[in-house]
Symmetry: C2
Subunit: 229 residues, 2 copies
């Protein structure tokens, strides 16, 4: 039975390659967030992923791995989120690495735990955009087309709009959300406190809070209350 | 209500850019095949697609368009099959052209008629492989991984193994078929008569018969009986 993401409004995303004290991790896991997602764009290893999993596992909060390195696929998570980048000309980020991981683990993996995410990378200056060779989303029509591609052609369960480090255009996010028939819209990028969290939560189904965890734990925690009431 | 492909064993694929007499078209459409698919890899235009549709429309057989050119998307088909190439490094063939077509037609299209096909191109010397920059499928593990990628990660309804001009390795096809949980396996390539049609039909759910239509209409017709009866 796949994990039920339909009620999720808030996720904390923590990076195995960044230091997080036990005290702060405890605050995050007990905050009332809907899930803790483990993932990062560089320096993710099997060892630091195992370490973070074992620390989050003491809590009841669902713990997800967002797969970036096939070397760092650690058993024991509640679900495995697999990014599929829609706006790139580099097939490695759409099907290539995914096929390699399936080649390695496909025979033994529990597919009920696998959740593909249709990524659209919207900050063209971000590391994520550079690494994946993301193509620019030029206008609203472009974004709506990606939303429909994810939702209707591929019927993926998640459309993840990744503004990575900047706060996005919420009118655009709302418009993308409005065309979805079955996918959930995940929003990530620039949520640095309760106001932006609230604003993003009005446009998206689920907001992802990452960097501010490492900059200001109190502000990070305040995003949960802002989003979940 | 999406078209039901689950009982299909045989499809004739006809090319708008190749000459087919009314008499031969009549024989194909009345042959007992499960569907007629219109599609080609070059020279497909709106005009020659409209023309072929209007000729096939006189018959009861389901008529599908396999989209290759967004300029040649003609209304009035029973379904629109959208190829998504899994084994390429060129994102244009996985999500790029698809997004462009959705950008243009997404607001008005009837999504119930849209059927995505996960393509794996297996003849590396074929035009299809060259045009799409298809990467080589090196071994059985590679093919099985593509099959699982299509069936389990993307949950696409069709895995299309395209040997394009050559007759494939039926043991490999059978093994790919065996790992599918929901997708239907379409096989295309080198079916030049009843023996190969029968052999392919034992390995795949559905066989696609194309070129032999233009070379030897009687042999083409005999593939229907070989597969279905």
């Amino acid at each position: 039975m796949p994990i039920d993401i339909s009620g999720w409004k808030h996720i904390f995303k923590i990076d195995p390659d960044r230091y997080l004290s036990d005290e702060h991790l405890d605050l995050l896991c007990e905050s009332g967030t809907d899930a803790v997602m483990v993932g990062g764009s560089s320096g993710v290893t099997f060892d630091n992923t195992v370490d973070l999993l074992s620390r989050v596992r003491r809590y009841e909060v669902p713990c997800l791995l967002e797969i970036s390195e096939s070397d760092a696929i650690v058993p024991g998570f509640d679900a495995y989120f697999v990014p599929v980048v829609l706006n790139t000309e580099d097939g490695q980020w759409i099907t290539g690495q995914q096929q390699q991981a399936v080649r390695e683990f496909g025979a033994t993996m529990d597919w009920d735990l696998i959740v593909p995410e249709a990524y659209v990378i919207l900050n063209k200056h971000s590391t994520a955009a550079k690494v994946t060779g993301a193509t620019e989303v030029r206008d609203e029509k472009d974004l709506i087309a990606y939303a429909r591609l994810a939702d209707r052609l591929f019927r993926l369960p998640i459309l993840y709009l990744e503004y990575s480090g900047t706060f996005g255009n919420m009118e655009l996010v709302r418009k993308a959300s409005a065309v979805l028939q079955q996918a959930r819209l995940f929003y990530g990028g620039g949520i640095d406190g309760p106001d932006r969290a609230r604003e993003a939560a009005e446009a998206a189904h689920t907001v992802i809070v990452g960097n501010v965890i490492y900059d200001d734990i109190d502000k990070a925690l305040s995003t949960v209350r802002a989003v979940k009431g």
